[in-house]
Structure formats: C-alpha cells, structure tokens
C-alpha cells in the first residue's frame, strides 16, 4: 500500500517537472527552427548574391532587430517600428524592430558592447568614446528626427504658459532661484500671480541626450553653467534634486509633485497635458516648442550641418526659432556582422528619413530638412556587410 501511494505521489512531482520541461522544449524548438530557417537559407543565398551584384538581398524570413536608447525619440520610434512592420508584413522579409527607451547613454553602451543592433541617441558620441571603440570600425551617426526640449512645470492654479529665459532655467537648476515668485520670473510674467512656493527642479537620473541638449543650451546662456553643472549626457547636478528614470520618469515626477519643473522632449509635455514654457530665443522673442519653431531653428544651420552632421543647433538665431531644438540620431556600425540584420536596418533607416517623416508632426517632431535627408541617404548607403551594401 505504501508503495502504491509512493508511486502516485512521485508521479505527480514528475508530472509537474515534465510539464515544465515540455513547455520549454517546445519554446526552444520553435525558436531554434526560426533561427535555423534563416541560417540555412542564408548560406545558399550568400553564395548566389556574391556572383551577381555587390548588393545584398536577404533570404526569405522574418528579421528581428533589437534596438534601444534615447527616450526622447521613443514616441515616434514606436510608431515608425509598427508602421514599418505593417509595411513589410506581407513581403518575404517582415521586419520587427524592438526599440527600448533605456536612455541615450545606455543605447550607446549597448551598441559598443554589441547587445543592441542600433541605438537612438540625442547626443552625438564623443570623440573619446569613438576612439575607445575604434577597433569596431566606423560608427555612423544619422540624424533621423528634429525635436525640441520642452521645459514644463506643475503649478496649481496657473493655466498659461510662463515666459522663461535660459538664464532663469539655469539658475533654477543651480538653485540660485528657489521660489516661483522670484523677481526675475515675475518680471517676465506680469499678468500671472506666481505663488510663494519653493521650486522643485526635476532632472534625469540616467544618462540622456535630452540632458545633453538642455545643458549645451544653458551653457550658452549662463557663463557659470559649465563650471557648476557642466554639459553632457550625465552632468554634475546638485545632489539634492529629484531625478526620474527616462523622459517619462521626469514627466511622471513633475505630475506627482506640485511646484516642480522638469524637461523632456515636447511630446512628453503635451501628451501629459503639462504646460510648456515659452523660452526667449536669441532674437528676444518668447517661443513655444512647436514643429514650426524647431524647423525655423534648424533652417538657420543648413550650411553648418552640411559640413558637420552632428553640429549642435541650440540657441539658433532668427525670430521664430525655438532655442532648445535638437536633432536626434540613429547610431549604427558601418560594417555589419549579420547581413540580414544589416539589410533590415539600412532599409528601415532609409524609410525613416524619407517616407517615415510624414509621421513626425503628430508626435511633435519636425520633418527633417531636405539637405539633411540627402546627407542621411548617403550615410545609410554606406552601411555594408563585407563590402556588400543594402540600399
């Protein structure tokens, strides 16, 4: 009797374990088969394409790309990824792009360590970084969207856009201006009754191209900024300030905290119904972050950009220019290791800088200027696998 009880008991333990094993085995098999499919067909078609042209065509099969980085560009990147997936769904190479908004710095690191296939970054990669990873070949930095950093705040009872200057924003983050009814702010906003409340500045806890754009602008407005807080993706913030992870983390903290102020891509402000400040530009006008004011800013830099595609476009001259406009970049290795991924990335990029631009305005991004698009297409056409290009 003991024995029979023992067997049934044992079998129930075994059954649970078996169930798990079977489930995992199925999952493994399915995913292995997918990979096998692409890899077997890959070898045959590589040989055939080698004889015909120097342009690579992938064998039929789904291609999945892992990417990540900038949270600034995330809203539009998700729309692009899904639109491009739909576009390619019925072709012989459906392309799925998984873009994770983990911050520009994390995206760059993912690219350097090879854990991501491409990265989104609002800050160009520094020269020292490039040198450190030069053994991996040439890193392409391709501007793919034009946006702006909005300064937003949460002051109960105030439902108009405040006028602010770069100098005031800098002093708020340096904690030289600590109250909303500070004389400097009141003077610019005579029609608004500002509360006698302490300003709670919120910044990014992770490395961010948005921080880079903001700090490089503030450095032009406040002579002490470079020595106090500095310019970069991660900077020397006063240590007692609140910080959120990602653009959405900053927006979340501003929503949660009365009398706070934060910065992020204008999408995060408008999508969360936060008010964005009018920022005084170099012509002395107060300008909202809008698609038109981003375009106006970028158009001032046409010549500069044609010489250096990663040139900064903050503090633009011109009446209508928004002073904290910025390009955001796609980062990708010029020499790809996996021809199928390379093919998918290059064609996706080409679509993004051309047809994909039509999605921009809805998400508070500006379409790329034409001269930037043509530089982009040149850069994209240089992406290759062992000399074979993709577009």
């Amino acid at each position: 009797m003991k024995r029979s009880k023992g067997i049934s008991a044992k079998s129930s333990v075994i059954a649970v374990v078996l169930l798990v094993v079977v489930v995992v085995a199925v999952v493994v098999l399915v995913s292995m088969r997918q990979e096998q499919q692409t890899s077997t067909t890959q070898t045959s078609s590589t040989t055939s394409s080698m004889t015909s042209t120097s342009r690579y065509m992938p064998p039929p099969g789904q291609i999945v790309i892992s990417a990540g980085g900038s949270t600034f560009v995330n809203p539009i990147m998700q729309v692009w990824a899904s639109a491009y997936h739909n576009l390619t769904a019925s072709s012989q190479n459906p392309v799925s792009i998984n873009y994770q908004p983990i911050g520009s710095s994390a995206g760059q690191q993912g690219l350097f360590t090879g854990t991501l296939d491409f990265a989104g970054s609002d800050a160009p990669v520094s020269a020292s970084q490039l040198a450190q990873y030069s053994s991996k070949g040439n890193l392409l930095q391709i501007p793919e969207a034009l946006g702006g950093v909005a300064i937003f705040y949460n002051i109960p009872g105030i439902s108009v856009s405040l006028n602010l200057t770069g100098d005031i924003i800098a002093k708020i983050y340096e904690q030289k201006i600590t109250k909303w009814n500070d004389q400097a702010i009141v003077q610019l906003n005579p029609s608004v009754t500002l509360p006698n409340q302490t300003i709670i500045p919120v910044h990014r806890s992770d490395g961010s191209g948005t921080t880079y754009a903001l700090t490089s602008y503030l450095a032009t407005q406040d002579p002490t900024w470079v020595s106090t807080i500095g310019v970069g993706t991660s900077v020397n913030w006063p240590t007692n300030e609140l910080a959120g992870k990602g653009s959405s983390g900053v927006a979340g903290l501003v929503i949660q905290n009365k009398y706070s102020i934060g910065y992020a891509d204008s999408y995060y402000a408008f999508n969360n119904h936060l008010l964005a400040a009018n920022i005084r530009n170099s012509a002395g006008k107060f300008v909202q972050p809008t698609v038109a004011s981003f375009v106006a800013a970028a158009s001032q830099f046409a010549d500069v950009l044609s010489k250096n595609i990663t040139a900064s476009i903050v503090n633009a001259p011109g009446q209508d220019s928004y002073p904290i406009a910025t390009f955001t970049y796609l980062l990708v290795w010029q020499n790809q290791n996996d021809p199928n991924k390379g093919w998918a990335i290059a064609n996706f990029f080409k679509w993004v800088v051309t047809d994909g631009q039509s999605y921009s305005e809805k998400l508070y991004f500006a379409p790329l200027p034409q001269n930037v698009v043509s530089i982009d297409i040149q850069l994209i056409s240089s992406i290759n696998y062992q000399g074979k290009t993709f577009t």
């Binding site: 044992k10 333990v13 997918q34 969360n272």
Partner: protein
Amino acid sequence: MIKRKIYDKLFLFFSVAAFLVAVVPLFSIIAYVVSNGLSVINLSFLTEDPSATGVGGGIANSIVGSFVTVAIASLVGIPIGIAAGAYISEFRSERYSRVVRFVSDVLLGVPSIVTGILVYSLVVLSLHTFSALAGGIALGLIMVPIVTITTAESMAFVPNSIREAAYALGIRRIRVVAIVISNAKGGILSGILLALARASGETAPLLMTALGSQLPFSGLLKPVNTLTLFIFNSATSGNPPLVSQAWGASLVLLLIVLGISLGVRFIAKGRYRYL
C-alpha cells in the same frame, strides 16, 4: 492594582492599534489594485500586444514573456534544487552536506539585483544580446536556493522508519532516495510553487537581462517584456492611460502570484512561510 488594570487595557489597545496599522495599508494595496485594475482588464487587454503609440493595446507579450522566463527559470532551478536538496537530506551526516545547506541559506539572502549583475556580465555580455534566456537564467538562480531548502526540509521530515524499511527489503539506495522523494512530494511541490511565485514577481534582475520589448515573443535569444517590467515602466511614466494599464497588469500579476501562494498554503498546510 488599578495601575495593572490600566496596563492590561493599554496592552490591548496597543495590539489592536498595531493590528490596524499593519492591516490597513495591506488591504489598501489590494483594494487599489483590484478597483483600478478591474476596469482595465478585458479580452483585448489580455490578448493584444502593446500598440505603438503606448495608448490602447494590451499586455499579451508581457504575459507570454513572464511565462517563458519563468519556464526557463524552472528548468534551471528545479532539477538543481531537487537534486541538491536530496543530497542535503540523504547525506546529512556528511560535513559537506552541512556546508551546502549553510550556503543555500546564505544564497537565499543575496539581493536579486546582484543576481541581475552576475547574469548580465556572464550571459548578456557573452551572448551579445539581452534575452529571454538571460532573464530566465537570472530567475532560475533565484529559485535554486528556495527549491533546495524546501526539498531538503521536506525530505528530512520523512520518518527514518521508511528508509530503514526500504533498506531492510534490500532495495538499492537510488530507489530508497526515490521513495523518500515521493513521500515528500507535497513539500517539494509547494517549494517549487513558492519559487515560481517568487520568480514571477521579480523585476530588478530582469531590467538588465530581459530588457523589455514592445514586440510579441520572437525567440529565446531576443529581449522580452514581462508583467513586472511592464508595470515598472508604465507606472513610472505618469502618462494616465499607461498608468491605468499598469494597474491592470498589476491585478493580473497579483492573481497569478496569490493564486500560486494559495496553492502552496493548500499543499503545505502552513510550512515554508518564511522563504
């Protein structure tokens, strides 16, 4: 005497107050998750993948991702845990067995984010990709000590008379161990369930191993989303539609985890509550 009476009353008051202080927040959590989550959950929320704009869509890929990572974790954690637990229990006279037992106790206390770092540097960096596999391995390493200790304990509870009877019948030791395991099946099973509940609720190690994804599950060597990652990312966004989706996902997660824990309670009848 009156003073002592007052003491009595004070004690009653103190303990009732402690009861209320303890129970109110705990029920508040359940109440908020249920009331905010219930309105979000419907069929399309459970069966659709996230939409590109972050508004609408569902959490299907997160549910699948949680399931896949926990399945991989089981594959790592359960066999190692049961075998190690059997060793600790059946060779308990050996010094090494006591060492293993002690080390599993210590492993139980390793913060899960440290496990995340370990798997990031060993698996993610060498495979050159964030992946479901890496996430599953991290969760599996968290499961190992839980399964080990519960197996060892429940096998130790099996009366020695059974072992002796088996030996007396001339049964080989491997069969004896099997018989002991089968007698301890309830405890082992509840240990497994306990480990599964813990693994399903983990977030920190997945940040740096599974990464997260908007896409449907597409292979073990690709990043995946899990329910916990979805909750963390959506909850901190402050974006109202995403936050309410996070409540919905929290309810789904809570049902899974509490369901498993109820199972443990049912099978184990009150043991293993402190792991």
